[in-house]
Point group: C2
Chain length 167, copies 2
């Protein structure tokens, strides 16, 4: 096993942050993810729920699906996932189902995160797979993007209300 | 709210069982699902993980994605989901994320089910949505299909071993 140093981990998280910013630019909740295999990014994704009108349209799902397609395998046993925010239930389940080895995430999600916050599902020995979890990677950057997004969204809503576009 | 009688519930579960049998016919773990809106099936899916080489290729995910596309909305607030086996973590998360109203499932999944077996995530008040859950709908039919599938899979594996196709 090759040890990953902090610099390498942060470099891949920067790639996930690029995805988060892409989501932000189209007014989607700015969460980004990448799947890394053998030192290469083989899957990328960002939240696209609103534009795609798809409840499953989360960053991790797209990144995992792309990685499966690239490797032509549903098993991502030697892959790591980097995501800017702690995964939700659906995405944690997809991480388990795809046998991802290491998860690196940025900021915690106290209301919906199930990796450390509400549950610790990736380290439940009753499941047939466990994942090494490292949280807090470039957490400030990720949290700042989220905070700015929700501030801007509130402002857009307020302006729309004023102009009568929204009740 | 219209009350659903047992006969209606079983009729929609039969539609999910048709999906399960379709999966069985192509050697996929035989789990099927349908999403129902206003008395109509608007999303169907069956497990397709092996053929699609996609870790997210579960029955519920396909059914939810199709329903979202049909309604052009990621919110399936007035929809019910019928699935032949108790959902896994990923699919339970997708059910929460899509705001499905009622879940009906067939047989329990003691090793991976998170609706009643290992967790009860659909009734966790900490999440922003809860789901009415009814398990055990046509459970014998669903369990019989699963049992026959795994028996046949073991037989295929045994035969393949004998003929030297598999170590």
């Amino acid at each position: 096993m090759r040890l990953m140093n902090d610099q390498r981990i942060e470099a891949f998280m920067q790639r996930a942050l690029i995805q988060a910013r892409a989501a932000n630019s189209i007014h989607e909740v700015p969460i980004g993810a990448v799947v890394v295999h053998d030192g290469r990014v083989i899957g990328t994704g960002h939240n696209l729920r609103e534009l795609a009108e798809d409840a499953t349209g989360h960053a991790e799902i797209y990144a995992i699906q792309e990685a499966c397609a690239v490797l032509n395998s549903w098993r991502l046993e030697d892959c790591d996932l980097y995501v800017t925010v702690e995964p939700c239930l659906m995405c944690a389940g997809a991480i388990l189902n795809s046998r991802i080895k290491n998860l690196y995430y940025g900021s915690p999600n106290p209301k919906g995160g199930v990796v450390d916050s509400l549950y610790q599902v990736l380290n439940d020995p009753r499941f047939n797979h466990q994942v090494n979890v490292t949280g807090g990677v470039l957490a400030n950057e990720s949290a700042a993007i989220m905070k700015a997004f929700f501030k801007a969204a509130r402002k857009r809503k307020k302006l729309a209300r004023r102009s009568g576009q929204v009740r």
